[in-house]
């Protein structure tokens, strides 16, 4: 038939046949595993861009090869996509015919076997019963054991274990649903980060995020507000934090108070389909800068954690005659060390201290720059000092800097993921399908009764596609129960000399 096909079609149909082979699926799975593993050995740009860039710096010559093969973004690389798509096609290619076959098999009546004695399990015996009564007893027994039954020409055909194939189909379909859920989350969802200082309100609008990535079909921000009323940290005696809690108030689109909510690390706030996770926290000392009585800067300032110390920056372009920047360290519990320099005594704000370094010159604010760092190129160092809480110091030129208060800030991860419910359902189906797919087995049993003189010759045969050892036991039990039931019936019919089925073994077994 392939001879009649034009070459491209022949190639395609050959590829399609190959893809649908189990062998191909196994090899693709192993390649996928190997490919995914590669990603663990290289810093991944989407996960940690800074580490990835540093790696490129350190491995100049290798970097180009690594970049070409997408080793720094394995899970977005062309080859990883290619393997995944091939697996997906292979999966769908296998599933469709299996679905058809499955529904046909489930709808069909159990089929009779022509020869029972060739089945792997076979027993026969004679009983002083009408064949009809024997078959009726067998039917009742098999129905109790939840076999599906069909009667044909003096034979009961029974089968069980469609859930094996059904479960497998559910499992593999759930995998597809999982992929759909992931794609939905990527396309319709968004995620971003924002630092909120105690007392301030974050509004879910594009400009208020510190960083944001939204899917192609993201329907838009909801515009509700979250006020961080207070941030509390509890500590173990050894200085390790025991709980973080961000006490917030939720405000609706009009800014009306809706309800309070305490955000914990493992307990996000959910409002209007958007979730707000507590990611990290930090100190925000309130700094005020005045020059000759005029306020140049006043407010809580976010200090970032940097290997145990806290660093922050204040920029005052309004200072005269030169622009001024302050680079500051915050020490929550400053104790004076032996050499007179402040040392951090612990994480709790027992003796808060702000150490500052003044810079004078041009801040170069006309260029985009981080709010957490100074551009040092046209700045010269000035005064150095330290401020206890509530203190003010003069820096010359009438400039005064004060440490007026201490607040904390919380960093929230804000995200919406419309795919999440799909993912959850898919994950549940994955497990639900897996159990029968792995533990159930397809098995068939036939019982035939024929008139043999004035007795019934009863034959029982069985065959299991999987789990043969377990079926052997099941079959033995079945024979025993059938024997007992039919004998009970036989004595009810008060017929003599019935021979037990199990006693007379014929045919191969086991």
């Amino acid at each position: 038939m392939s001879r009649q096909q034009p070459p491209p079609v022949a190639v395609l149909s050959a590829a399609w046949r190959t893809l649908r082979r189990m062998r191909t699926a196994i090899i693709l799975l192993l390649i996928l595993a190997a490919g995914a593993a590669v990603g663990a050995f290289f810093p991944q740009r989407p996960v940690s861009p800074l580490t990835a860039n540093a790696w490129v710096e350190d491995h100049r010559s290798w970097a180009r090869i690594a970049e070409f093969f997408g080793l720094l973004d394995v899970y977005g690389s062309w080859w990883f996509m290619a393997i995944s798509v091939l697996l997906l096609v292979s999966l769908v290619g296998c599933l469709l015919p299996r679905y058809r076959a499955f529904f046909r098999a489930v709808r069909a009546r159990p089929r009779a076997a022509a020869a029972l004695e060739v089945q792997p399990h076979y027993r026969t015996g004679e009983m002083a019963l009408a064949p009809e009564a024997a078959l009726h007893g067998a039917e009742r027994l098999l129905r109790d054991r939840r076999f599906r039954l069909a009667r044909e020409d003096g034979t009961v055909a029974a089968e069980k274990g469609h859930w094996r194939e059904g479960g497998s189909l559910v499992f593999h379909t759930a995998l597809l649903a999982l992929l759909i859920g992931m794609a939905a989350g990527k396309l319709f969802g968004h995620s971003g980060q924002v630092a909120v200082i105690e007392g301030e309100t974050f509004r879910d609008t594009r400009i208020e995020y510190d960083s944001l990535s939204a899917g192609r079909f993201f329907p838009g921000h909801k515009g509700f507000g979250v006020t961080l009323e207070a941030f509390d940290v509890d500590w173990y005696p050894n200085g390790v934090p025991s709980t973080f809690v961000a006490r917030t108030s939720i405000l609706d689109q009009e800014g009306t108070f809706v309800r309070p909510y305490d955000v914990y690390v493992n307990s996000p706030l959910t409002y209007d389909g958007v979730r707000l996770y507590l990611l990290s926290w930090g100190w925000a000392p309130e700094i005020r800068v005045r020059q000759n009585g005029a306020v140049l800067y006043d407010g809580p300032t976010v200090f970032l954690s940097d290997d145990g110390s806290w660093r922050g920056v204040v920029k005052t372009p309004g200072a005269e005659p030169l622009e001024m920047g302050l680079e500051m360290f915050f020490v929550p519990d400053a104790v004076l060390g032996d050499d007179g320099t402040p040392v951090n005594g612990g994480p709790r704000p027992e003796n808060p201290l702000v150490v500052y370094q003044q810079y004078l010159g041009d801040l170069r604010l006309e260029e985009p720059q981080s709010v957490y760092a100074l551009d040092p190129r046209e700045l010269a160092p000035g005064a150095v000092g330290a401020l206890r809480l509530g203190r003010t110091e003069g820096l010359g030129d009438g400039i005064e800097v004060s440490f007026t208060g201490l607040k904390q800030y919380a960093v929230f991860h804000v995200a919406s993921n419309p795919g999440a419910p799909v993912l959850l359902v898919a994950a549940i189906l994955l497990l639900v399908g897996l159990i029968p797919a792995l533990y159930s087995s397809r098995r068939r049993v036939w019982v035939r009764a024929t008139l043999h003189g004035d007795a019934a010759r009863v034959e029982i045969a069985g065959n299991a596609a999987q789990r043969k050892a377990a079926f052997e036991e099941e079959f033995t039990e079945l024979v025993r129960d059938l024997d007992r039931d039919l004998h009970a019936r036989m004595s009810a019919d008060s017929a003599p000399d019935g021979r037990r089925i199990g006693a007379q073994i014929g045919g191969p077994d086991g």
């Binding site: 192993l30 050995f41 992931m182 390790v240 690390v265 493992n266 993912l423 497990l431």
Partner: protein, 318 residues
């Protein structure tokens, strides 16, 4: 917060349990050469070790007032406990495979030694780890890892036995795969292939062969490995799902391809490949066994390498 006395007791009992397991291991291996009575004694010793070990873990849980699987030490420790428990309750009592005691005890001793290598003193959990999902997630990972470990032992033994069987004069073909031409592999329902009479004064080579002959057939091990993975795979699947749900609750994303997640996925895919291989003609037997070994290497990698080695590379800690 931490009851120091209980924690101290727990640590002492840990060492006792490890020593008892080592003794039991020696006795089990001796029983392969010397017979049933030593095997029975080894079983009693192993039960004693299990009791001490369980007490050690229980006292640690009490000393910190939380579930005893919050760090790497406790994780490996739990695996050791489960290995011994599964051996004694399932392999020995239900399947009559007492001969495998030496291997099971050896694995437990390794798990405990590994645990000691990453020892952490009893202490509370940081906020990110205080979650119900975490408890479930980690417990499932522990159970699955234990079972994968056992399946690895079975697979290796099946490969070893298969070589021996092929070398033996009565060989008519490897029993790995041979039993299931066209059908699913299934061990004959042989039970209690126990330890028969004592043999003294044997030639070493003969004793060796006799010891190996007391170990079940390659086909039996192959089936055991398959069954174990069949149980472990859904548990691992659940562990990964629970981990994703936990990540969704704690970090706002269910999957981020960090090294831990990546290798959990790699492990899952390899064992999925194994299960498919078992259902495919030409892939049962040795090829499937190789995939199973690769799967366990990936389990070890997920656990040790990602935590200890890649963590250093990637500023990722757990």
């Amino acid at each position: 917060m931490v009851d120091a006395q209980l924690a101290q007791l727990s640590d002492t009992l840990f060492w006792v349990a490890m020593a008892v397991y080592a003794v039991a291991m020696g006795a089990f291996f001796a029983a392969l050469y010397r017979g049933a009575r030593i095997g029975a004694a080894a079983t009693v010793i192993a039960w004693g070790g299990l009791l001490v070990h369980a007490t050690s873990i229980a006292t640690r849980a009490l000393s910190v007032g939380r579930v005893p699987w919050g760090n790497m030490f406790e994780y490996s420790n739990m695996i050791g406990l489960l290995l011994v428990a599964v051996y004694l309750l399932v392999l020995d009592r239900r399947l009559g495979l007492r001969q495998l005691g030496g291997f099971a005890m050896g694995a437990a001793v390794l798990a405990l030694a590994g645990a000691r290598g990453v020892y952490a003193p009893a202490g509370p959990l940081v906020p990110a780890l205080q979650s119900w999902w975490l408890r479930v997630h980690v417990l499932a990972a522990i159970v699955a890892s234990t079972l994968f470990g056992l399946s690895f032992i079975f697979t290796v033994l099946s490969l070893v036995k298969s070589r021996i069987e092929r070398r033996s004069p009565a060989f008519t073909g490897s029993t790995v795969g041979a039993a299931y031409v066209g059908t699913e592999p299934e061990a004959p329902a042989e039970r209690r292939e126990g330890l028969p009479v004592d043999f003294d004064n044997e030639e070493p080579a003969l004793a060796e062969r006799r010891a190996m002959s007391r170990i079940p057939s390659a086909a039996r091990f192959d089936t055991l490995a398959f069954r174990t993975i069949q149980i472990a795979f859904p548990v691992w699947t659940f562990a990964v799902i629970a981990g994703a749900i936990w990540a969704h609750e704690a970090w706002g994303r269910y999957w981020g391809w960090d090294p831990k997640e990546t290798f959990a996925f790699v492990t899952w895919v390899i064992y999925a490949g194994y299960l498919h291989a078992r259902a495919t003609a030409g892939w049962r037997g040795t090829r499937a066994a190789v995939i199973s070994v690769a799967g366990f290497v990936s389990v070890l990698f997920t656990y040790f390498a990602v935590n200890l080695w890649i963590a250093g590379l990637h500023s990722y800690q757990r």
